[in-house]
Symmetry: C2
Subunit: 321 residues, 2 copies
């Protein structure tokens, strides 16, 4: 093993920079301070810290941010009030609150017009079905994508994994991507999103490995999922074939085996825990150890998109009246 | 098989365009018409046609072109005369002339200062040893690269195979390239060049398959070559793993098996024969069916570089005097 790696470590702040600039310019163009409200109902000091960091980032980019601390039993009515408040442009909740299915109920209660995280089922439905606009056939209102999967797409674009010479929608053709995480919030929608863009995605969770593709030759319009035979296909056999390895395992102790990473692979961790040992730098072509700063940029980008979509609908209504 | 391919066919003229523009601008800056002399000594009508095409391209870009037809036994003295002629800036010969080792003798007779094709052993030596300048440690005179390998690098850059986020010199890290051709003029130097830039290259000829790499983790400064075990590694087992497949087989009948091409692979043919059947378009991510127009652009780019290197040496001599 050589002492100086052949590849590079790329920080999220570097990737976020052009987006931060774009967002700052967009806010100035709007002529008012968009307001994001974050609801904290779990009393978790880590969530509190994260909320404070979100707040600082928002204010730094010209947004107004309000952190509302409520009792978990009051969260439902607080969300309904914020949905109706014309001064509130974006809403987010620091989950988990109850830590069960009630959290999903609360999440879906947020108006699609203010859902900055893009977590509403309508947005997920569009993502899974490769529907990119809210108003076909006019296609002027872009659908919102969930922040973390969207951040991952922007990171893969920055890293040159998306090949801009290929047609839009097919820019991951030929790429193999392994994702260790199949949560409903990130892992599964991310696998679908990358497969819809042409990749062959291996989605790994504790139970099995699934393959997401639009067919080997992209003959399908949207991806299909199959369960892989666990005897024939293992993490050990698949990972070394992959161009990209993405992990999101919420555990201090979990480490992706460095010897499964092929030399020159793109390696990205989106967990708040460190899913790779440092020796991965000796193998990775490009290594992104965390993505938080890109994710929050996408959250604020979504907020601006929500405002634009709303303005667009208002213009249409005026024209119709 | 779907009727509309997921990938794209890219024409050499598209890739050559920015270079043609750069060359035209450079010639205008020089303030005189650089002169290229082509020697034709084999009476081959195909070579004559190719020579005429070279001539037209040269003149279109602001160069002067002279085609000299000589008897093969007079070629040596004609080359020596052109070497000394200050009005001649670049020299090339349409080979084969004798069709044996004498051709190599004649090739090496061309002054390194006028060798537009970059075929002098000194230039090949630099290529194999990853030496990029003629005047270390000043590094102001760039070494000349043989036209076809250089054209291939520019094509791979255009196609996004070189990843510009990686450090210069490592931009093919993690890429696997198959090259069917191991000629001294193109195939072997090309394999070395791509391995020196970080790729794992499988070089195929009639006898065996060789692997060119700087080590899996690029720990070497320049590439090393090993013969692969022919039982363990076959074209059939290696090709489907490759990101890039390059062919240069000078035969009407040879066709690379389409079923060995992985979906989404980059496929490039540099032979003047068509080494792929049309069905490769159903599998290739990017397909470049011929590269001639990029190669001639590189020839003229080399000519300008030779003039710049000469001017640089002249300035140094004046300063020293």
């Amino acid at each position: 093993m050589s002492s100086k790696p052949a590849g590079r470590t790329i920080l999220a702040s570097t990737i976020a920079k052009p987006f931060v600039e774009e967002i700052t310019a967009s806010v100035q163009q709007l002529g008012f301070k968009p307001k994001l409200v974050g609801f904290l109902a779990n009393g978790d000091p880590a969530a509190q810290m994260y909320a404070n960091w979100t707040g600082k980032t928002c204010e730094g980019l010209g947004f107004e941010y309000e952190l509302v601390q409520v009792d978990k039993n009051d969260l439902e009515s607080a969300l309904m009030k914020a949905n109706k408040d014309d001064n509130v442009h974006g809403i987010m909740v620091y989950f988990p609150v109850f830590g069960d299915n009630q959290d999903q109920y609360l999440q879906q209660l947020i108006s699609t017009e203010k859902d900055v995280e893009g977590l509403n089922f309508m947005y997920y439905h569009n993502l899974y079905h490769n529907v990119r606009f809210l108003d076909p056939p006019y296609n002027e209102q872009k659908s919102i994508l969930p922040c973390t999967p969207l951040a991952m797409v922007k990171i893969l674009e920055y890293l040159g994994v998306y090949n801009i010479i290929l047609h839009y929608g097919n820019r991951l053709y030929g790429k193999k991507v392994l994702i260790v995480n199949r949560s409903e919030i990130v892992g599964r929608p991310l696998a679908a999103l990358l497969a819809n863009d042409g990749a062959t995605v291996y989605s790994v969770d504790i139970n099995n490995i699934q393959q997401f593709t639009r067919g080997d030759d992209l003959s399908e319009q949207r991806h299909k999922v199959i369960d892989l035979d666990s005897k024939e296909h293992t993490l050990e056999s698949l990972a070394p074939q992959c161009d990209v390895i993405i992990t999101g395992v919420p555990s201090e102790s979990y480490k992706f085996p460095t010897n499964y990473v092929r030399n020159g692979a793109v390696v990205i961790n989106f967990s708040s825990n460190k899913n790779f040992n440092d020796d991965v730098k000796q193998k990775a072509g490009l290594y992104v150890p965390s993505i938080g700063k890109v994710t929050i940029a996408m959250l604020l980008r979504n907020l601006i998109r929500l405002i634009k979509n709303k303005n667009h609908r208002a213009t249409l209504q005026k024209t119709a009246a």
